[in-house]
Point group: C2
Chain length 208, copies 2
DNA sequence: CCTACCGATCGGTAGG
DNA sequence: CCTACCGATCGGTAGG
């Protein structure tokens, strides 16, 4: 009430709990993280957490809904500029990688959700993101004549999947990759993807 | 000792523990799985487990080394036949999907390892698989003139990554995918990948 | 918002 | 290979 734009103390505590839980869940997983750890990192006593969230699972749900990587990813993809698919997707990829800051642990939260909750919380997320997904699909449809005849949703899925593939194989290989690549291999991934979805130059419609 | 090819009772118990642990770890994650659950599913008392493995983490390590999805995957890829990259990779993909039986949970073990152990056990796995990886890279190098100039290891990584991308996005979307696709979308993924790595027909070496 | 507590369950062990 | 137990820690709550 002191200032209508300043969050209340209760709001700040609730947010601190989410930040703490996000950091812990995404580095340790759900079951391996205790309420005591969450409380300590948030600067609260254990009992105080329950003034903001009724249970551990409720905190996880709130983290998924308010700190999910996709909340970061989708706007970044929508930022993509360009008059050709090539430009559009490359710029989307650039802002994506920049925004995610080369911190592959960002998708640990989603992996945890998949393994420990079997994707149970994804439904509501999907509804939340649906308008943005439609926008993106429409944007891609605008480049239709540059693309091979692949459904726009699948191109989107493959595009997102490419980053999964890149980050996960990167996390697994990071420690023992000789030194060959490491930096420009995302460009190569992107090159494979772009060559994969684009119509070969010179032919407009009569492939297959 | 009754038959030199028959596993001893101790061996069978050890194997039952691994089977049990694999099933539980890959559906619940590591921390969410208790030693009591592992014992019960293996048909043993809790205390008996410790005659075969010294700790819970030792069981996880044994599971990773002896039940890891890659142990299934690599031979399947090596089975791939064909005189062109297209045939080779398509046949590899076919036997891969057939062998993994449309059960995407097969890679949960690896996801769990990445999230809960930060990929700590991958080093030894990598050494174990190194010869097969070399064989595969050599096989791909044989198709060099059909391929765009991309390092063979990265093509391999992208190929494996494509399945990660396909299965993970599939697990997440499965529940709410309208009904559009579901069956032939792997073909489309594969098509994107193949178009992405292959040299456009008609030009042999002078791209870029 | 904290202190102090609850019953349940955890990984692991002793002893037979 | 099992029974019975250990101390530690878990998610959650009462009471102030």
């Amino acid at each position: 009430m002191t200032d209508e734009t300043l969050p209340s103390k209760a709001d700040r505590s609730a947010s601190a709990i989410l930040d703490s839980a996000y950091a812990l869940f995404s580095t340790q997983g759900y079951a391996a993280t205790s309420m005591r750890q969450i409380a300590e990192r948030a600067g609260l006593a254990l009992g105080s957490i329950y003034n903001h969230y009724p249970s551990k699972e409720a905190i996880f749900e709130a983290v998924v809904n308010e700190r999910h990587p996709f909340l970061l990813i989708l706007p970044l993809i929508l930022e993509g500029q360009g008059d050709t698919v090539d430009e559009f997707l490359r710029s989307a990829a650039r802002s994506l990688v920049a925004g995610l800051g080369d911190h592959p642990e960002f998708l640990n939260l989603m992996l945890t959700e998949v393994v420990e909750f079997k994707g149970r919380h994804v439904q509501q997320l999907f509804e939340k993101f649906f308008p943005d997904i439609l926008t993106l699909a429409g944007r891609l449809a605008g480049f239709q004549d540059e693309l091979r005849p692949i459904p726009a949703p699948l191109i989107l899925r493959a595009f997102v999947g490419m980053f999964f593939a890149y980050f996960i194989t990167g996390m697994v290989l990071k420690n023992q990759m000789p030194l060959e690549m490491q930096a420009n291999d995302l460009d190569l991934f992107l090159g494979i993807f772009l060559n994969g979805v684009k119509q070969p130059v010179g032919m407009t419609s009569e492939s297959k």
